[in-house]
């Protein structure tokens, strides 16, 4: 009895204050938790080849925003702000995003902005909205992401940069390295063999293919009806409801036959890098108290996130640095995480991060990743949240992490708890 009393009193002393920090606790529900009411995405479609080849990014964004309203039943006028991650559009895609929100059914009073933190933009947009709700600036918001690499991918998206800076500072110059070269650098610096990369890539296709066949993406994908110009230039209406980059039957042997894409002596190929794709995703966020008051479902809650810089010439190592920071903030260990969604920008860097952190490979991208699904740059960060929460639910698991490397040398990671 004495020991029970001592234990109880001790527990009163060891508790950390939750009020003075924004770290929401895993396993403890609070009305101030920022919860995810819905996380949805369009199918991810091969750029320039797939059925989104004649669809503009704002049309993809509008589709996923409209579906968010329809699927949750939320009154659009209650959404006060939307942040949209996108990377490539000229002018930051700002006006196009505003058009998309208005077209999707949001009133003029609903604000919107776009954000560009390269490949983490969709996550950055989500974290921006989370932070705005936590600090009381808004009550309800959407973190989203979109990219039409069909429309905007190419050298023009990069623009011109200062030669004065690049010639004076090597790390700054490294920011201009093609992403494929940074992948070669990671593979060479850390000895990630071609075979390891191809094996990992075949696994991605294999898992994605099995997941697609089993219908595991159905809960996160919203069908998109759009028009495509057929080979005679005739407009055809199509409804797209499946990712089209997944190749069933790809093996490490078949991948091993591909030529290196960036360096004759390199190991990075079109088969062990992420695909160039079009897609969009959106995450509806609010406090638990708000969701309960409105009678909206709660898919999970945001715990915390972290972003950190790494050397630009090996930018792919980002998750290996961001994930430990996020886990430390959440006060958990790698082994406490049930599922990791780590973006497969390149197999080289994904394999490096998994090995470096000692993550059980069976917990990594259980439905495949960007090598099979594609990587619409601005959308990926929001897309991973949709993919993560549905899989945590299916496996009846709780704690998930999303993470990605970021061009110009950064990593970002976020921790979520499914409910």
């Amino acid at each position: 009895m004495a020991s029970q009393r001592l234990e109880l009193i001790s527990s009163h002393l060891t508790a950390q204050p939750t009020a003075s920090s924004n770290v929401t606790r895993i396993g403890a529900k609070s009305p101030d938790d920022i919860v995810i009411v819905s996380a949805l995405r369009t199918p991810i479609i091969r750029a320039r080849k797939g059925p989104f080849k004649d669809t503009l990014p704002e049309e993809l964004l509008a589709a996923v925003l409209k579906a968010t309203i329809e699927k949750t039943g939320i009154k659009p006028e209650l959404v006060q702000d939307i942040a949209v991650g996108n990377v490539l559009p000229p002018g930051g895609g700002a006006s196009a995003a505003r058009m998309a929100a208005l077209y999707a059914g949001f009133p003029e009073s609903t604000a919107i902005n776009t954000v560009n933190r390269q490949c983490s933009s969709g996550l950055q947009a989500t974290v921006q909205i989370v932070t705005a709700i936590q600090t009381g600036l808004i009550d309800i918001g959407i973190g989203a992401g979109v990219e039409s690499m069909t429309t905007n991918y190419g050298a023009a998206a990069l623009g011109n940069t200062s030669e004065k800076i690049a010639s004076a500072n090597q790390a700054a110059a490294d920011c201009l390295l093609p992403m494929g070269i940074t992948s070669e650098n990671v593979a060479a610096d850390f000895g990630i063999t071609r075979d390891k990369q191809d094996t990992f890539s075949a696994r991605s296709h294999h898992l994605a293919s099995a997941a697609q066949k089993a219908g595991l993406f159905n809960a996160e994908i919203i069908p998109v009806t759009t028009t495509v110009l057929d080979k005679d230039g005739k407009e055809v209406t199509v409804t797209v409801d499946k990712d089209d980059g997944i190749r069933e039957g790809v093996t490490s042997q078949s991948l091993s036959k591909l030529k290196p894409a960036f360096s004759a002596t390199g190991t990075t190929t079109a088969g062990n890098a992420s695909q160039v794709s079009d897609g969009a995703a959106a995450v509806l966020l609010m406090k638990r108290a708000t969701a309960e008051r409105l009678g909206l479902p709660i898919q999970g809650k945001y715990i915390t996130s972290a972003v950190v810089g790494v050397p630009p010439k090996i930018m792919g190592v980002g998750p290996a640095y961001a994930i430990p920071i996020a886990l430390a903030k959440a006060n958990i260990k790698v082994s406490d995480v049930d599922i990791f969604e780590i973006n497969e920008a390149f197999a080289s860097q994904a394999v490096y991060c998994v090995e470096k952190l000692g993550i059980d490979i069976n917990k990594v991208n259980p439905k495949g990743g960007a090598i099979a699904l594609g990587h619409p740059l601005g959308a990926t960060g929001a897309r991973q949240i949709a993919t993560l929460l549905t899989e945590l639910k299916r496996q009846n698991k709780r704690v998930g992490v999303t993470s990605m490397c970021i061009g110009s040398g950064m990593g970002m990671a976020a921790v979520f708890e499914r409910e």
Partner: protein, 319 residues
């Protein structure tokens, strides 16, 4: 005036000023920090010329964790005992309790006499249950089992005789109406255990909670989705919160950071704390406002000391 009394060999768990006598104070204490061993009930008179005098001392087989004076009989009071029992004492009689109820299966941590319907009192226990009692009845009248963790506090509404509130380690506050078998309202009040609550005497929908998360929150029960104010300052768990019987905007708190704090929830700006009493040298578990002497506080702590004082900020005319 600042007077002190030593509850030698016994660590203070709770105290309450008499509702009938201006300077009478009852203190519930436990030996060995309440972990194991006896309890002792002190009835003190804080009005004497030499400071605090002892009127009565009663010893019990297990620690005492909470205390409440009868609202009907000026000599009677009820204690919450570590062995799961609840005892009714009469200060005109020596040695033994006049009634002993033993239904809770673990430590009883709270007792509170109904302030309006003065024939009942309520208890909360580490067995997760709440029980409603009438001192004339040999058994409890009602048992409420909804909380999923220890019940640390049970407090009657000062406005409605059938309504009380409970605070629990399950992070919830529940509002009960004795006319209904189930709780009538649930607040997810904190992200950690809630150790204490009290009702505002001047606003009948306002309660105050204190939590292991170091914060005190003021709630309007008509708007339960979020607190009205969150008071930060305690550096460890908040053990006790009390609303002033004289001013609707004043709250006192005591905690594991060994401090007693006084808050003015109506103060403009961020700084709501108006007083910090840091003369205790161990956890402070008990704090109560004297009903007759405006601004006067009594506190008890694990340092075996009872302090009676008027914080400068609560001197009449100061606020």
């Amino acid at each position: 005036m600042f007077v002190k009394f030593r509850t030698e060999g016994y660590n203070g768990y709770d105290l309450q000023w008499s509702p009938f006598f201006e300077s009478k104070l009852a203190v519930a204490t436990s030996a060995n920090f309440g972990l194991v061993g006896n309890g002792r009930l002190f009835i003190l008179n804080a009005g004497g010329p030499a400071g605090i005098d002892v009127e009565r001392v009663y010893d019990t087989q297990d620690g005492l964790f909470d205390i409440t004076w009868s609202e009907v009989n000026e000599n009677q009071l009820v204690t919450a005992n570590g062995d799961g029992s609840i005892k009714l004492w009469d200060a005109t009689l020596a040695d033994f309790p006049i009634q002993n109820w033993h239904e809770h299966t673990r430590e009883v941590f709270s007792v509170h006499w109904n302030l309006v319907n003065k024939d009942t009192f309520v208890s909360g226990s580490w067995d997760h249950s709440i029980k409603l009692w009438n001192p004339q009845h040999p058994r409890s009248i009602q048992t409420y089992k909804e909380h999923g963790h220890c019940v640390y506090s049970t407090q009657w509404s000062p406005h409605t005789g059938t309504i009380f509130a409970s605070a629990s380690g399950d992070h919830l506050v529940k509002i009960w109406d004795t006319k209904a078998p189930r709780s009538v309202q649930t607040l997810r009040a904190h992200a950690n255990e809630i150790l204490s609550l009290d009702w505002n005497k001047y606003a009948d929908n306002t309660i105050v909670t204190g939590s292991v998360d170091h914060t005190i929150k003021v709630w309007d029960l008509r708007r339960p989705d979020r607190e009205v104010i969150c008071l930060r300052g305690h550096e460890y768990a908040v053990r006790k919160v009390k609303c002033s019987p004289h001013q609707g905007n004043i709250v006192a708190s005591a905690g594991y950071d060994m401090s007693v704090r006084v808050w003015d929830v109506a103060a403009p700006g961020e700084m709501k704390m108006v007083e910090l009493h840091d003369l205790h040298t161990e956890f402070v578990f008990g704090v109560d406002f004297n009903l007759y002497v405006e601004g006067q506080l009594a506190t008890c702590a694990w340092d075996e000391m009872v302090h009676v004082f008027v914080p400068p900020a609560l001197m009449p005319g100061r606020r």
